[in-house]
Symmetry: C2
Subunit: 319 residues, 2 copies
DNA sequence: TTGTAGGCGTTATCAC
DNA sequence: GTGATAACGCCTACAA
């Protein structure tokens, strides 16, 4: 790993000239520029990012904190985001964390490294972001909110997501809809359930929510609610449901319909047949870029379009 | 973000004294040390990693390149690795990549940043690692090999994995075993299939391999092989199989047994009932740490223990 | 068109 | 015990 000074020596020029060649800056003759470029190529010269970041006070990185729970969906989201950031010459860097302390340590590090932005998936709700971090760089909390002044929060209107699900299933004739979700509390989980329950009541349906799905609890909920459709918090929970139903010989969609949420690409590779609500990932990516540009950035008005596939069927409307 | 020089000024001491206090180095009176530490705390002082890395020529990071395919298993693996690295004061940093060019760019960046090590999941087989990168830092290719001098390759004996699967299923009475795998070519995919076929023949069984599983191909393979057991390349493929079988009303394990590979924690959260071979993740993490210590580091002799759950049943041995 | 000098924030090595 | 001072590799400004 040769430095720019060493490169200058080998070319018999000064460091300033090397800099001009490397950055295509004016004030250098084409001849020397080509000579330096060739030498750089030949020596495998690479600028040292640490030195550059030290002097410019900015890194070309966007940091992201990735908790271990539910990481499949977030990986899909981050791949999408990484793609969009690359178009801007920025690189996404993920820090896998387990505990709250690690979460905060990773954020601290992003700030100390002068990253352009910190993307955060809070492992629990309402974690406070330290002031110095939020002052140093824009902190964007995705999916669930964090506490703290100046923290951006980027999520679609999840209550509307719950309503969309009920409207869609109702429109296809379903009158007994069971909502499957997680026991864990988070903005998305709570808001979707709230939207589901609200829309159900307004439509004259009885809401039934099961938080924490396993064999026994699902069996009980099925007996109690006798649903014709299951609205699952996400595709992975829909998958769990699919497996548990098939164990009991209940067919999908003949006996019961299933609707997921996310339309996660990784999931589609495993089971391309699930009917689901598509998470507005591109809009999310756009909003992140907006914040990077100093604009507000929001997902207001973004809806989850229904991706109709094979797991929801029409019901002849009962009276 | 205050610098150590600024901190020194505020305390009315020199930068050298601040450094001694911050690092608990000798040659400083307890009084001034405590005073400086208190001031640092109060100002929210954080050392600038870029400056430190510039002078020491080493970062405290291990870089990892994460392709978009099959990333669930790798995320599980990286979470395990991150945990072990943290015990050594090192942080794992993931770079999500899509294309081969991005893959190489990420590696370049790791080298330029003087990371302690680069962990690599090659998106395709046999990608050549540039010489300068491999000279700068240890490059460890996980699961599938890369080309290039001095590149470490860390993977269990996957041929043995295929043999283990056949031995286990044979031991439980199965005589017609179908192997489900991916069309994609990689060391693990090829070696497991080879081990499966070899062990099958040696045991007097007819090997049947289906590479690229979907509704139609699986239906055909089931008719052709009439298997009592499915050996799937990994848990996610087992899941696909599980779903496709349930569509056709084939029960697991009553009608056909299913064996996966990986014992992936994320997978277990979705379906905790799959019988599977456990990937030696801890051994993998240990081997990575060994390489960090300059020791060889190898997974030789590591086996995939069978995790017996509910998807494999005994067959009364037919003659 | 090119060279020189200073500084970014840290660490390390000298003197005092 | 403590304080100067140089160095890491790069960038920017200014001088030649």
């Amino acid at each position: 790993m040769i430095s720019s000074l060493e490169l200058a020596r080998r070319c018999g020029v000064s460091q300033g000239t090397v800099d001009r060649a490397l950055h295509g800056r004016p004030g250098i003759s084409p001849r020397t520029r080509d000579r330096i470029l060739a030498a750089a190529e030949q020596c495998g010269y690479r600028p040292n990012p640490a030195a550059r970041e030290l002097i410019t006070g900015q890194s070309g990185l966007v940091g992201a904190v990735l908790p271990s729970v539910n990481n499949v969906f977030f990986m899909d989201l981050f791949h999408e985001l990484a793609k969009r950031l690359r178009e801007r010459g920025l690189r996404l860097q993920l820090a896998p964390v387990e505990t709250r302390a690690e979460f905060l340590a990773a954020l601290d590090d992003f700030a100390a490294r002068r990253h352009r932005m910190a993307l955060v998936i809070p492992p629990e709700d309402g974690i406070p972001i330290p002031r110095p971090v939020a002052r140093q760089l824009p902190v964007v909390s995705l999916v669930s909110p964090c506490k703290g002044a100046g923290i951006h929060f980027l999520a679609p209107d999840e209550e509307e997501t719950g309503r969309t699900a009920v409207r869609y299933l109702h429109g296809r004739g379903h009158r007994r809809i069971l909502h499957l979700t997680y026991a864990r509390q988070s903005y998305a989980i709570k808001a979707r359930a709230r939207g589901y329950a609200g829309q159900a009541r307004e439509t004259g349906l009885q809401p039934h929510i099961l938080a924490g799905v396993d064999r026994e609890s699902l069996a009980r909920a099925l007996r109690a609610a006798r649903p014709t459709a299951l609205f699952c918090h996400n595709d992975w929970l829909a998958l769990t449901a699919l497996l548990l139903l098939s164990e009991r010989g209940i067919r999908v969609p003949e006996d019961v319909s299933i609707l997921g949420v996310d339309n996660s690409p990784t999931f589609a590779a495993i089971n391309p047949h699930l009917t689901t609500l598509a998470y507005p990932m591109e809009a999310m990516a756009r909003a992140v870029l907006d914040i990077l540009d100093g604009k507000p950035g929001s997902l207001a008005g973004e809806r989850f379009p229904v991706i109709e596939r094979e797991t929801v069927r029409d019901i002849e409307s009962a009276v």
